[in-house]
Amino acid sequence: MRHLLAIDSLCREEIEAILDRAESFAEVGRRDIKKVPTLRGRTVVSLFYEASTRTSSSFELAAKRLSADLISIKSTGSSADKGESLKDTCATLSAYDPAAIVIRHPYAGAAQMVAAWSEAAVVNAGDGKHEHPSQALLDLFTLRRRLGSLEGVRIWIVGDVLHSRVARSNLVAFQAMGASVTVCGPPTLIPRGIEALGCEVSHSLDGLAEADVVYALRLQKERMSETFLPSLREYAAHFQIDTRRLGPRQLLMHPGPVNRGVELSGEAVDSPQSLITEQVASGLVVRMAILYELLAARERPAPVEGDDAQRPTPIGQPA
């Protein structure tokens, strides 16, 4: 694995390897000294063009636990604020010879472009509404710990699928591990053609009882002004997951941050079926595992002639 750009570029074995590695880091987390020297002397750049709490903090802590040197850049207050292009920012950061760049960007394909422009291993920490592969991996890790296997597990993803990169990555990841997926939400928030990804589509929670896992998505409040929804009240009436709709055997997940009282009721968040805090804990060990698999699982390749052949073709250039 050279980069982590999208879930659909990973095969099941690669996913399993990351999850297995994360298990070993979970053991490290129980020690008094939680730090390992694996990435000593290597530099990790965390480049966030969008607000983020859990993703940026867990990637940064993961890099530190692996003893990497960390540069953390947020778009506000940086040269991106001054109009520097992503390409030029990449060139600038490349001067530090980073081993990895973790990037969050508001537009699809940004991580892929950085991978083409930089020598570093690139981790997509969310690109537009496209993919959020590390979220999908931590969700798989969380579920695997709880259920052992996802084979035959029925998962409902409920909410604003249209605007959700988490929904897209998880849809692919869950199915790759043998689960079946139904996406559920109002027709305005389910993208036309999503069933081509292999999922079922429902516009009602009526069939929710069949689900083993309910994965609720965050609903951005500005969706009303864009005529996607008449009101939050109407959304909640039809699609909120509460303890009445959530059965006692069903597990509840959410990528955070939660709008209590909108997509989830407060009781559902705090219910024993909720895995939400476990997801956050998984985020750290899975992101350690991602950095490890990218940077330490194989020796750093010496720059040799013909190395270019192994890098993705830069966008805009002939393949």
């Binding site: 472009m113 993919e131 081509a196």
Partner: protein, 449 residues
């Protein structure tokens, strides 16, 4: 009237040469088979039996095994002049056209500022008479400054030489404004060419709405954004007995709308671009905006098949490139942020030949006919090989293969949708408006002793 008489190009000597033993194909004129094509002082003087023509001391081109067609006409080109000469100008744009086998083109008016006043048209025509190596016609905006609110001075623009009108790049959003323009057209003539899109439906879309946009999380442009606007505009044209030309058709629903309008006797013509005929939205999975982001977007395979069928049955009158040059910095950004548009003049014929003619999807004769079909919708003479007409000839080697971009581009911009592809079929020489406009550097001409 000949293209050179109506459109503008730089003055020069009329070509005098013989294409010896070329295989001719001009379906519209019923000309085919091996002939010597005798061009004298910029006119097709004679089509003679192979080897029979007298070169008269002029250039003699050994065209055995090569094909000669009426040169192509592109009714949809962005020359980016004035204001964006870093992307293209009249000289580089017409050079690209000549290299693609074109003997004429129409330039869109969405420049900076837009071509909206008679002096704008006059300045461009003056520049074309200095710089254009193929005849160029200029469209003027339908609405003043392309703002969509007031009509341009359509009659004065026609007097200044505007060939027709278009707000291309944007739709004429208001039905009221378009209706007034169609009424006013009775006074001044000039086909109104329409970019058909309902911004209420296309919104912030960046690609075709469907399974691929769903998978990529990119905002979609639904097919109905185009087709509903075509239906509206065709109804207006029918009601006002106006003449419209629908630009860059992309969706199956749009073809239905045009077909219905034509069946109802409405004076509407339409075009499709090579990239919509050859590619689908599957290409966007690469997230490469340089080659695959344009408006209208690449659509589904079903849409592509519908376009091919409509080209065959005559619903689509002509092939137009929508050649849209952009600077690298506008394309080397994430897909959603990148500029819309791809270049296409230099590759249009070769791409269609490679992707559609060689696999047996389209007849060569049909392609040749439709590649030159862009003149008539604007009241211009169709290029032809018929003796006595102005020489507008493209000489092609249909077996030659080449890699797009390997030797650079004639265009100032490099955002070709074919970049890096190997194509089969190459333009060796173009005679446009009676003058030799292009010859491939490695293509040597034999001069008669």
């Amino acid at each position: 009237m000949s293209l050179a008489a109506v459109l503008d190009m730089r003055s020069g000597e009329g070509a005098t040469l013989v294409l010896r033993g070329a295989t001719l194909l001009d379906p519209a004129a019923g000309i085919e088979g091996a002939h010597d094509v005798v061009v004298r002082d910029g006119q097709i003087a004679e089509l003679a039996a192979p080897g029979a023509a007298d070169a008269n001391g002029g250039e003699e081109v050994d065209a055995g095994g090569l094909h000669a067609f009426p040169a192509f006409f592109d009714p949809h080109v962005h020359l980016r002049t004035p204001g964006q000469e870093h992307k293209e100008d009249i000289e580089t744009g017409t050079r690209a056209a000549a290299a693609g086998g074109y003997c004429g083109l129409l330039a869109m008016a969405n420049t900076d500022p837009p071509v909206s006043t008679p002096p704008d048209v006059e300045a461009l025509r003056d520049a074309a008479r200095e710089q254009a190596c193929v005849p160029v016609g200029f469209l003027a905006t339908v609405t003043r400054d392309m703002a969509g609110e007031e009509l341009s001075e359509m009659a004065a623009l026609r007097d200044a030489g505007a060939i027709g009108f278009s707000d291309d790049g944007l739709p004429v959003r208001s039905a009221r404004v378009l209706r007034r323009a169609l009424q006013y057209q009775r006074l001044c003539g000039g086909t109104i060419a329409l970019h058909e899109e309902d911004p209420e439906l296309s919104g912030d879309g960046v690609m075709h709405e469907g399974p691929v946009s769903a998978a990529l999380g990119l905002a979609g442009i639904p097919s109905v954004s185009e087709s509903t606007t075509i239906a509206r505009d065709a109804a207006l044209a029918g009601y006002e007995e106006g003449r419209i030309h629908v630009q860059h058709l992309s969706a199956a629903e749009s073809i239905d709308a045009v077909r219905a309008a034509k069946a109802a006797g409405i004076r509407v013509s339409c075009e499709a671009s090579p990239h919509h005929l050859c590619l689908t939205d599957e290409e966007v999975r690469s997230l490469d905006p340089t080659r695959y982001k344009m408006n209208p977007p690449l659509r589904s395979e079903a849409d592509r098949q519908a376009l091919i069928a409509a080209l065959q049955d005559g619903t689509i009158d002509c092939i137009a490139t929508d050649h849209a040059p952009h600077a690298p910095e506008e394309k080397e950004v994430p897909f959603e942020q990148a500029a819309m548009g791809v270049t296409g003049l230099e590759t249009a014929f070769a791409a269609i030949h490679t992707d559609l003619v060689l696999p047996g999807v389209l007849d060569l004769a049909l392609v040749v006919e439709r590649m030159a079909g862009g003149a008539e919708p604007f009241g211009l003479e169709r290029p032809t090989l018929a003796p006595g007409s102005e020489a507008n000839v493209v000489l092609c080697d249909l077996a030659a293969t080449w890699t797009v971009g390997e030797e650079g581009y004639e265009s100032r911009s490099e955002n070709s949708w074919c970049a890096g592809r190997e194509l089969t079929g190459r333009v060796l020489m173009t005679v446009a408006g009676g003058q030799v406009a292009y010859r491939l550097r490695s293509f040597s001409l034999g001069v008669a002793p």
